[in-house]
Symmetry: C2
Subunit: 331 residues, 2 copies
């Protein structure tokens, strides 16, 4: 097993977010679930977009957001995801490369356009996401650079992308390559809907020891365990994972590592404006500590600080200097 060259390689949705401010009546009248994510087809996407207010566009995608945070913290990162040869694809590729993240997945020249996520932010700072997966769902296993995956300390996978068939197959290949090379696999459960559809897969992956680090929030881990009790859910999965991380919104987060529990409170935020990206950036801070060999408590603290930064402004990628924000924690 050679020394890793990259800190992390992630496979995720290559998405541009379209963010608008809407009121609760908008969420209700379009029968959306506040705080949740749903997949939409072309027709639904057009209908929703035509009803949305004037917005702003920022590159997004859960795993890509996590890498944006890690790159800002000095980690060496590569991203794998599918865009098309269109304007949103150009924007996504530009933005991720401008952050110093390697992104070499071949651009699709046919098929659906680059993915977009229509995000309504309500006055309570909650985000409601409607994802048109577009090109993202057609990431083929052949797009993977397995040598690159073998060269990275961590392979990070986005649960959202487990839903479409081709990326799922690609992620299975990636897991096999990473494990053969003795690397660690990190996975985020992403959302309740993927657990509803693919819970059996996820439980099997954990059971087989394919996942080293699992990221979830309280509702995801309980859904996966089929219980309402967070402690029961933790007790079910923690023994099978090197590290289990459970985020708890304003209550902070928990990490269980080798049977030992560590906790952190949420970092203070003057005004929460848009919770989009909170989980993604928590993961960024946590993993940036992890690849530096920090203790779980420090990883949790770094995650909490990164999450606090991203919810203080619109958009799911950091705006402020994260290195400066974390200060001594990075030494």
């Amino acid at each position: 097993m050679s020394e890793p060259i990259l800190d992390i390689v992630a496979i995720g949705n290559a998405i541009v977010d379209v963010i608008s401010q809407e009121d609760d009546a908008f969420i209700a009248s379009h029968a959306l679930t506040k705080g949740g994510m749903q997949l939409v087809d072309t027709e639904q996407a057009e209908l929703l977009y035509s009803a949305m207010s004037s917005g702003l566009e920022i590159s997004g995608g859960s795993a890509a957001n996590t890498l944006a945070g890690m790159a800002a913290l000095g980690c060496s990162c590569a991203f794998i995801g599918q865009v098309r040869d269109d304007q949103l694809g150009d924007i996504f590729a530009h933005d991720i490369r401008a952050l110093g993240i390697s992104f070499e997945t071949a651009v699709a020249t046919d098929g659906p356009p680059t993915a977009r996520c229509l995000i309504m932010v309500t006055p309570d700072a909650q985000r409601t996401m409607n994802t048109f997966l577009g090109a993202s769902q057609f990431l083929p296993p052949s797009a993977l650079d397995l040598d690159m995956i073998r060269s990275a300390r961590i392979l990070y996978l986005e649960g959202y992308l487990w839903d479409p068939e081709q990326p799922r197959a690609a992620m299975r290949s990636a897991i096999a390559a990473a494990r053969e090379a003795g690397r660690e696999v990190a996975f985020t459960l992403s959302d309740a809907f993927v657990i509803a559809r693919h819970g059996d897969d996820f439980r099997a992956l954990i059971e087989e020891g394919q996942i080293d680090i699992l990221f979830s929030n309280e509702s995801e881990i309980t859904a996966l365990a089929g219980t309402n009790d967070v402690e029961k859910a933790i007790a079910t999965f923690a023994p099978r994972l090197r590290t289990l991380v459970v985020t708890r919104s304003e209550k902070g987060a928990i990490a269980i590592r080798d049977g030992e529990r560590h906790t952190v409170t949420a970092a203070p935020v003057e005004k929460v404006l848009d919770t989009t990206g909170a989980g993604d950036l928590f993961t960024a801070g946590f993993l940036a500590g992890y690849v530096r060999g920090k203790a779980p408590t420090q990883c949790l603290e770094m995650g909490a600080l990164c999450a606090a930064e991203v919810i203080s402004h619109y958009g799911a990628r950091p705006e402020k200097d994260l290195k400066g924000l974390l200060g001594g924690l990075l030494d």
Copy 2:
């Protein structure tokens, strides 16, 4: 002369802004003029974009920004501008319609893509703009709805768009239609470069009495008059215009109407973040007062408040509730 149906119809660039934060070294190393606007071709646009940091996209365009402000203040508005049938064109069209502005210009199905403006914002809040005019420069005279132009109280024209041949011809037709119908024509000088190229045209339009309301800043009006003395420049043009407005950044603004001078100080801003759109939103506030028949001093105050709002955040379109901000001034 029938009663106007619309408050304003504007002809301008249909542009999506791409905004990034850069330092002074970036501006210097790319030989850009801080605070200015330059036109770039495809190659220059690609070069600059590849060097820019990760950004965010917001619909822009000078006259379109002005309408965004006026619509937020309850004015009835229509916009004429050329986009292509691409993703940025969809975004521009969506955003302007979502603001309640009528936008019916036929979308181009060939030719260059929708215009974009690469905007670098430096830590001093100055913006440096690099405009790829794309489809915008091919707005044909045939795209004009002359009946609509005749039905609007004010025809507003963006000086930037005087540079390309087809829109210039379109604007000349629009001026003729508006004047025949007894409407007023408002014009913004936009930038020094258009004055350098088209000063003769602008002076002739003023001389012939084709323009009723002229918007400029100090450097534009002096450039147009061929003097360094703002007062001399004002004395040159004011007698030929119903209203001459000269904005003076942090020193406020002046309006000369029927020989009488009115002034306003700049409205206070807690922290100036991005000056993009300051002039556009000043014009929005001023004209929103004007179409309501407000006195020049009130129009100036409304302009100053709208400008102050837009420079307190990124992007050239208002975020806050402008009606609430202006309060009693609107009654």
